[in-house]
Structure formats: C-alpha cells, structure tokens
Amino acid sequence: MPLLGADMEAGTIVQWLKKPGDAVKRGDIIAVIDTEKATIEVELFETGTLQSIIVPEGEKVPVGTVLALIRTDGEVAPPAEARPQVAVAPARVAPAPTIPVRPKQPPPVTPAVPGRLRVSPLAVRVAIELGVDLSTVRGTGQGAAITAADVQRAAKVAIPEKPPSVPVEVPEVKGRRAPTMSPAERHAAMRKAIAAAMARSKREIPHYYLGTWINLSRAMAWLEAENLKRPVTERLLYSVMLLKAVALASREIPDLNGFWIDGAFRLSEAVHVGVAISLRQGGLIAPAIHDLDKKGLDEIMGNLRDLVKRVRAGVLRSSEIMDATITVTSLGDQGVETVFGIIYPPQVALVGFGKISEHPWAANGMIGTKPVMNATLAADHRASDGHRGALFLAAIDRHLQEPEKL
C-alpha cells in the first residue's frame, strides 16, 4: 500500500485493474485505491508479470502492506509454497500502523443472473428495511423489474435469522467501481487528514513569511493579445503564467524546492509544482504538475485543466499526490489580497497569490493605475533563510515581467 499523502495511514483497494498472469509495465495503472482524500490510481514502477494479488478488493490495509507480487523480467517464478510472507510497515512509516483493519464486510450481493438487476426505488428501500437479498427476488413489474410487493412477498418466505444485508449493487462509474466511502464520510475523513497535516506543519515547521506586490501590466497585456489569437477553447488562464514563473524561480533558487526529511533538506532536481485545488464539497487537494519548469504554457494549461477535472471527479494518480516539490495556492478568485500559507509537509515552501486589482503604482516618478497582485512566500526556516526567499520572490516578479519568455 503506497503512501499517498503525508498523513495517510491506510487505504482500501477499490479495484484491481490487472489480474495475475497479466504482463505489466512501468507506468501502467494497476489498481484503484481509496484513501481518506480521494480515489487514486496506482501506477507501477516495475515491468514484468503480475504474479499474484495478495490484498483483495474491498479490504483496507495499512500503508506499507504488500498488495501484490510482480515478477520482473528474467526472474523465475518461485514455487507456490516459497511465496514471501506479507510484509508490513517498512522503515519508511515510523510508527507501526495503529488503525485497526476493519473486519471484512460481507461482500455485496451480486445478482445470480448476469447484468444489472432492475429494482424500483421503493423496492430498494423496502429491501433494505426488511433485509431482503434482492438477488433472490423474482421481479413481476414492467420488464421483470422488482417491485416493493415482490420484496414483501420474498420477505415472507425468507429465513428469519438471515442477517440484514444491503443488497444494492455498487454503482459503477465509467467501468470503475465507486469509492467505498459515502460523501459525508469522505468529507469527514478529508477534514481529518487536512487537520493532521496542517497541525504537523504548524507544530514542526518554523515558517517565515515574505510578501511583495507584483505589477502584472505586461503579463496581462501579453496574455490578452495572445488569447485574442486563439480560439476560446485554447485560451490561457493567467494562473498558468504564475505557475510557470514559480517553477522557473524554483530552478534558480533551489533552496525552496524539495523536502525536509529526517532532519535534513533534500533538494529536488525536478520541479513538480503542486496546485491547491479546492473541492466543491469542501476540502482541498494539491496534486502536482510534473516538470512544470520544462513545459510550455499550453502544455501547463492542458495539465491544469485535466487536473482540475480529475480532482473534482476524485480520480488522481499516485505520483501526482506525492511528488509535489513546492505548492502554489491562489485565492485571488475569492477576492483575497494576501495569502499567508501553511507549508504542506514534507515540502519546504508554499507560494500564495492574491487577486489582481488596479492599484495606484508609482514608477519613474510617475503615478498610474496598474493591475497589481500580492505574492507571498511561506518557507521553512530550517531549509532556507529570508535572503534566499527574497531572491525567490524577486525571481517570480522578474519572470512575470517577461511574459513572452515564459
């Protein structure tokens, strides 16, 4: 079970997308996992053959549990009895997992006949109330649909001590099983996860904060001219320029790009910018756009659009969740001028952008109104000092003054 968030302790296998015997390669999506934050597709880092699945669908296991065995190319298949035991909690997860694995739920009843059961909404309700297994009910409604009367008839003949089951089929979404949590449970779990990560951040990270006003006249004028040339579907949002400027600054001042792990700063060569995306039902996720410093604005725009769509649909990839080396949060759309961010551990910096608004702006002895935005940096003082942070913000400003080079 991969670690898919700083405070993830366990995850549930929603669905295996490969079966034993399948050839698999690096980058394949092998399974869908439900964490407390989202449904996440697990990517493979090995190429070979899926030998066996150890943790079945529906089961919740601690981070570090072996989920399946993959035989890499050239390796000989071990005899069945020589299979390694299930390994739990490698060194990476310091405390032993404390979340008890819930006793296995009775698996959802699947209909005896292939295809979906046709059940009226009232019949479903009555079946739940009476604890009737719908797969055993003969439907007499239109198109052989099961009606409430059918359920009541079945309840009369059912064995009385049968435990009540909720025989509703797990709804399918585009071929993927739906997550195991209800929206309310997910919301509560996400709140808990955010609370844990943010409390840890404030407890452990000595934040320092810097802020500066950035004149965006050039950037906005360039963007407007650029967008005029494009069809509506290919237009750029200004946030794409901000993300690119952050990525370029991160490359120049690398002290802010990486992780604080085990008492030391580990600089990251790659720049994966996490983008904080708020969810409609509350909560937020900050998945990464990989190698953002090397991408053009169009590609970043495409990535961003795709990411927002998938975050809201709750389908993210494992690498996106864990790889961010620095995070950007923009609250300007909500009318905020200044963001005082909290770093997402183990990252060491968070860049905040406020709204763009017209301000009086003095330059070269003249006063005019300019579109101006407040940019802030929350940084980990263990990893960097204010001087480096100041250079970093100045670099963002500089890049935004040359929009055509972004």
Binding site: P121, G141, Q142
Partner: protein, 332 residues
C-alpha cells in the same frame, strides 16, 4: 354536500353564472372579446349578457387579439377588472406578446408598482373535429411563464367558482376552459360560489396508482378509474386544477400513497406540463416510486380532422386503463 339543494346545470351555464355574478358584484368588471356581445360568444357562454348589462360592460372587439388583450392590460392598469375572452387558445398566440411581455412582466419591470389584475378566459383542447388549427392544448406552454397563474377548471364547481377568485387576484390569471366541457351537464349546489385556486384536489381516492390530470381529460380519467376498480385496481384521481403555481405537494402526497403515477395530458408530450409533473415526482418522490412514471399525452401530430384519427391521437379511457393496469402488475 348532502342536504344542500342542487340545480341541474351545464358547464357553459356555470361559467355564465360566474360572469354574471362578477358583473353584478363589482362595477369595475367588464367582459370583452370577439363576438361576446351580439352573437353571445362563440361557445354561447355570454349569451344574454349584452341585454342584461349593456354594451359598456359587454364589449365586442375587432378581430385583433393583440389589440384587445393590450386594451385589457391598460384597463387593468387603470383600475378596472377586465375579463378578456380569447375565442380559442390558438388565437391567443396573436396576443402572446401582450400576455407574456406585458401582462406577466409589468409588475416586475415597474419595481412592484403596477399590478395587472387581468383575467383572460379562453377555450382549449381537441375532440370536437375542429382540426389542426383549433384544437391546441397550450395551457402547458403558458404554465411556463412566471408572472401568470394558469387555471384549468374541469368541474362545474370550478367553472362556477374560479372566475371570482381569479378576479380578486392582483396579477394576471388565465383560465383555460376545455371546449369539450361546455355541454357537460350535472348537479351543482344552488349556492355554489367562489373556490380557492391554489390546491389540486383528489377527485377519487385510491391506493394503487395515482392518475394525475386536469381539465378536459378529468372525465376520461374518472371513467378509467371506475373501470380499474372493476379489475381490482384502486386508482386515485388527482385533478391539478391549477397548472401554475403547480401544487407539487399534492402530487408528491398522492404518489407517496400509491407509489405509482400515470399522467394524462391532452398536450403534446415533448416539453409538456406532463414532463414537468414527472420531473417534480422524480425530484421529490423518487424513493417512493415502485414503477417509472408513465405519461399519456396527445400524439405529436397536428390534430387530425377525421373523427377516428382524432380519437386515436387523444388520450382515451382504454389507454389509461391499460397503462395503469400494466403498471400495477401482479397483485400481491
């Protein structure tokens, strides 16, 4: 109402009584429209009223719906309580601009200063072999428009009682009288008077299926419910009475009792009031449903002239019975 004296009366006479009473009670009330005076109304509803009330209050108008509906709006703004008769609903399309862009909006556009206490009466529906240009059921269209109230009296009581209540309303009210109802005869309490216009009414209680309808198809639906009773199916008949505002609560209550709904509507199916009713059921009573909602509407064709084709194009008792019977299915 046991013990109350009743009189034998037609729907046409019930409406005439309502108009007469309004003219007697309120000097601001007057009737205008095409042929309402000397000719006595295209459907003879206003026959005799010209002699009784004179040309000031029973006014024949030129054949210009837009003009005389506009005049009605003006009169209402000026403090009168006009009853404007539009001969049939298809002719009302000529006045649609006045109805929708003026009557329905002036209160809003004036910042709440000017109400339009206008009542429009018109004939709707098919079944009389008057073919594709005189058989529309467009009350569902009008029910789409905020700012209007849409009444569809289906009974003698409502024919007699809705007009006065409509006249008391400070805002425009459209009354759709189904052409097939004018000759319907029955017993009406001799002291019948104003009725409320906000609520749907259960015309027959039942437990197996809700038959939801209004206006011209209420009679057919009640006959279907009787036939269904003979088959052991207990059908509830809900008469909507008012299409805007729609009494969604009554619809949901009924479906919550019966768990099944068949909507009977003489309008075309696509984008119809029956679609709206079905959507309200889905929104508010989905988990009560034991079967998909069914609709029996007019065939989506211009109304045929030939009797057998017209019958085939309209909701009929047999179709209602068959649909409800099949929906209820095997009895447990």
């Amino acid at each position: 109402m046991a013990g109350t004296k009743t009189v034998r009366i037609t729907y046409r006479e019930a409406i005439r009584q309502a108009i007469r009473e309004a003219l007697q009670r309120d000097p601001r009330v007057f009737l205008m429209g095409e042929d309402v005076g000397r000719y006595g109304g295209c459907f003879a509803v206003s026959k005799g009223l010209l002699d009784e009330f004179g040309p000031e209050r029973i006014r024949d108008t030129p054949l210009s719906e837009s003009a005389f509906v506009g005049a009605g709006i003006g009169a209402a703004l000026g403090g009168m309580r006009p009853i404007v008769e539009i001969m049939t609903v298809n002719f009302s399309l000529l006045a649609l601009d006045q109805i929708m862009n003026n009557a329905a909006t002036i209160l809003h556009m004036s910042g709440g200063q000017f109400n339009i206490p206008l009542v429009i009466r018109t004939t709707t529906g098919a079944g009389r072999q008057v073919a594709a240009q005189h058989s529309h059921s467009l009350e569902g269209w009008y029910a789409h428009i905020p700012g209007l109230k849409i009444l569809t009296p289906a009974t003698l009581e409502d024919g007699r009682g809705m007009l006065w209540t409509a006249l008391q309303d400070p805002d425009p009210v459209l009354i759709f009288e189904h052409g097939g109802l004018y000759n319907v005869e029955g017993e009406l309490a001799s002291d019948a008077g104003a009725v409320e216009i906000e609520k749907a009414m259960v015309r027959k209680s039942g437990t197996d299926v809700s038959l939801i309808t209004y206006g011209g198809t209420l009679g057919k639906t009640l006959r279907a419910a009787e036939e269904l009773a003979g088959m052991g199916v207990s059908a509830e008949v809900l008469d909507l009475r008012t299409l805007r505002p729609l009494d969604a609560e009554a619809i949901v209550d009924s479906v919550t009792r019966t768990h099944r709904a068949v909507i009977i509507d003489e309008g075309w199916r696509s984008g119809s009031i029956s679609a709206e009713i079905s959507a309200r059921i889905m929104e508010n009573a989905f988990y009560e449903l034991d079967s998909p909602v069914a609709r029996i509407c007019a065939a989506e064709v211009p109304m045929p002239y030939a009797k057998h084709l017209e019958d085939a194009a309209l909701p009929q008792v047999a179709t209602i019975v068959e649909t409800a019977r099949e929906m209820v299915g095997e009895r447990g």
